[in-house]
């Protein structure tokens, strides 16, 4: 409620967001997906490299999704970024624990 009576009545102006940004990001995602499929279906890299590369592509794609489509690049998203980052950390630790300590 700290700012409810002041800033709330003055909604922040929307910086006209270009459609271009999203399309570029979309194309990048498609390319990353294709790259992951190619890695698996064609023998372009040694087998040991496939998983790390694939995971790397997935992570980049998800970051793109978060910061363009889900608007985490906008001002005032710091809490969300911190929170999601902590969530991802917990998620990775938990999943790794389950997988590597059977």
């Amino acid at each position: 409620m700290a700012d409810q009576s002041t800033s709330n009545t003055q909604p922040t102006e929307y910086k006209s967001e270009s459609k271009m940004k999203h399309i570029v990001s979309f194309v990048a995602m498609i390319l990353l997906t294709v790259a992951a499929f190619v890695l698996v279906l064609r023998d372009v890299v040694p087998v040991a490299w496939v998983l790390p590369l694939m995971l790397g592509f997935a992570v980049i794609q998800v970051l793109l999704q978060l910061f363009t489509f889900m608007h985490l690049d906008q001002k005032g998203s710091l809490y969300y970024i911190l929170f999601i980052a902590f969530g991802v950390m917990v998620a990775v630790i938990s999943a790794a624990g389950i997988i590597f300590m059977p």
């Binding site: 409620m1 700290a2 969530g87 938990s94 624990g97 300590m101």
Partner: protein, 636 residues
């Protein structure tokens, strides 16, 4: 036949809602009753009181279960509660105390106190708050239904597989655990999100994060832990439900499943859960030490840091519950070190409390007695924790009464002492009356002495080799005498609790309204009137520093400086939908337990319908004129 009947009743019920084919005058009359008022309330104080009272109720239930167990263990070879009955008692004692006593008591205090402490008129999502409570309520009810229908859960509160699978736990017992906790857990997650958004978004003017009272800080960290710790439990319960009800093979090793998987999922939830129930306790203690020492909390910033660090490390230590599984020396060592690290922030806290009292102007009302009793008790629990954190030693202690003694020192000495301290401290804000100090002293001394008599000897029971969760022991192996002392202590705790109940009843019966600020308090909740008006603050206060109300009192002001002009206040309307939603899940859950898919699906569908009801409900609250505004208008 029964299935059909329930489905018809359900169908009629919804037909009535949608066609308006019900008796309208009856509904109108029902709306005027007190019961309807509480059932549909979205007021954080009323929901807090309901959480608190439900928590007290289950605290008594869990306590009775403990007393039955202590009675069984009074003499060797006793036959009062043996075999399955004893297993049910120990399972339900753990489940009840953690999920249905400690959690709701904490949520009760957070609900009542936290919005007042940050200077808010309600929580961020009042509807969700009500839904969270009713889901907890019906989840708890469902879990306890096993006592009457078909047998209570009996696989331990940790419900380890294979034991908890159909083969070794036939009957509906464990199903009650799975579905009851699933429903209550959904409510818990909602409350966590609600509290977190409230604290981040709804602080009054000047209440920066580093000016919040310690209890609010610990509520914030606890909320974060709830949000991230509940999902593993949700998944664990989901998988167990799939295995038991739908023939899946997550845990059945014959079909490739893994028993360790359950332990991982359960303890990834289970260890943060310990901090979920103990961090708010630290917050309560911090507020009480500071108030009754008439001093600012020593090392406020380090306290915030320590709390955050405990929350952070809390997710990286779960394997210390699994040292004897055989995950290997590397895993065990890493998690042992992480566990021992937690002693550092906890130690910071203990020293900060001691230094808060150092040189303070100390007074010793009952709340402060609980707080002071907490320090040595909790430190003992922490010490045995460090002992258990060393894997080679843990191989000796595991599954013995030593472990039982350890976690009761932490959970009773930490959480329960703090909750009772908080009850005495905030009672005037919750109920507008005071608790008797005389009865409170009896309660404290009986419970405190009884606690140590019960659990201190259990360390030795464990070291002498008595395993936990076993309903009897041999005579002439040196265990009788210690067990008898332990049972005697448990009886003292029971008498203390009866005195507490009597104290509550006396306070409800008394007509004397408590003073607004009986303890010469420091934080904003004491700046409200007693009883607190439902809009909390006629004008939201402006905060100038840590211990906001104390600062104003030091500056010679009787009240907080308002941050806004006197005006109409917008408040949310009550709603009966949370109650309906929870009933729908309760019926659906019970249907699944009874292996009646029709009722299960029906309940879920009904839940979906109530979600639509909520989505299309366009009631956006109402405006109210506070008393002060009405007075002013009357004058002019």
């Amino acid at each position: 036949m029964g299935t059909l009947l329930i489905m018809i009743v359900f169908g009629l019920f919804f037909a009535a809602i949608f066609t308006g084919g019900y008796n309208n005058t009856l509904i109108q009359r029902a709306r005027k009753t007190t019961a309807w008022d509480w059932l549909t309330s979205v007021d954080h104080k009323k929901i807090g009181v309901m959480y608190f009272m439900a928590g007290i109720f289950y605290f008594v239930v869990g306590g009775l279960e403990a007393l039955f167990m202590r009675y069984q263990l009074l003499v060797p070879g006793n036959d009062a509660f043996v075999g399955r009955t004893f297993n049910e008692l120990l399972t339900m004692h753990g489940t009840t105390m953690i999920f249905f006593a400690a959690m709701p008591l904490i949520f009760g205090l957070i609900n009542v106190v936290m919005p007042l402490q940050i200077g808010a008129r309600d929580v961020a999502f009042p509807f969700l708050n009500s839904l969270g409570f009713w889901l907890f309520f019906f989840g708890a009810l469902l879990t306890n239904m096993g006592w009457i229908f078909g047998g209570a859960p009996d696989a331990g509160w940790t419900s380890y597989v294979q034991l908890a699978l159909n083969e070794y736990s036939p009957g509906p017992g464990v199903d009650y655990y799975v579905l009851g906790l699933q429903i209550a857990g959904a409510g818990t997650t909602m409350s966590g999100i609600n509290f977190l958004v409230t604290i981040l978004n709804m602080r009054t003017k000047g209440m920066s994060l580093l000016r919040m009272p310690m209890f609010t800080w610990t509520s914030l960290i606890t909320s974060v832990l709830i949000i991230f710790a509940m999902p593993p439990l949700t998944i664990a319960l989901l998988l167990l439900m799939m295995d038991r009800l739908f023939g899946a093979n997550f845990f059945d090793h014959v079909m490739g499943g893994s028993a360790v998987l359950w332990e991982h999922l359960f303890w990834i939830f289970g260890h943060p859960e310990v901090y979920i129930v103990v961090l708010p306790a630290f917050g309560i203690m911090s507020d009480i030490f500071s108030t009754f020492s008439k001093k600012k909390l020593f090392g406020y910033n380090s306290m915030v840091f320590a709390t955050s660090l405990i929350g952070f490390l809390g997710f990286m230590v779960w394997v210390h519950h699994m040292f004897t599984v055989g995950l290997g020396p590397v895993s065990n060592s890493i998690f042992a070190i992480a566990t021992m690290l937690i002693a550092i922030p906890t130690g910071i806290k203990v020293f900060n409390w001691l230094f808060t009292m150092w040189g303070g102007e100390l007074t010793f009302p009952v709340a402060m007695k609980w707080a002071i009793g907490f320090i040595p008790t909790f430190v003992i629990g922490g010490m045995t924790g460090i002992m258990l954190a060393a894997p080679p030693a843990d191989f000796q202690y595991q599954d013995s009464y030593f472990v039982v003694a350890h976690f009761h020192y932490v959970l009773i000495g930490g959480t329960v002492f703090a909750l009772l301290a908080g009850a005495y401290y905030w009672w005037p804000k919750m109920f507008g009356k005071m608790l008797s100090e005389r009865l409170g002293n009896w309660h404290f001394w009986l419970f405190f002495i009884g606690f140590h008599l019960t659990f201190f000897p259990q360390h030795f029971l464990g070291l002498f080799g008595m395993p936990r969760r076993v309903f009897t022991y041999e005579p002439n192996v040196g265990l009788e005498y210690i067990n008898q002392v332990s049972t005697f202590g448990a009886i003292l705790m029971g008498i203390g609790t009866i005195i507490f109940a009597w104290n509550m009843i006396q306070s409800f019966r008394s007509k004397k309204i408590a003073a607004a600020d009986p303890w010469d308090g420091r934080s904003l909740e004491w700046a409200t009137e007693t009883p607190v008006p439902f809009y909390n603050f006629a004008q939201l206060p402006e905060v100038r520093g840590v211990d906001a109300f104390w600062l104003e009192k030091q500056a010679g002001n009787k009240q907080m400086t308002p941050a806004e002009p006197l005006g109409k206040i917008h408040m949310p309307s009550g709603s009966h939908i949370p109650f309906l939603m929870s009933i729908a899940l309760f019926v659906g859950g019970w249907g699944l337990i009874a292996r009646s898919w029709q009722i299960g699906v029906m309940g879920l569908l009904a839940f979906g319908v109530t979600m639509f009801m909520r989505s299309f409900d366009r009631d956006h609250g109402f405006y109210v004129k506070p008393k002060e505004l009405l007075d002013k208008e009357a004058k002019s």
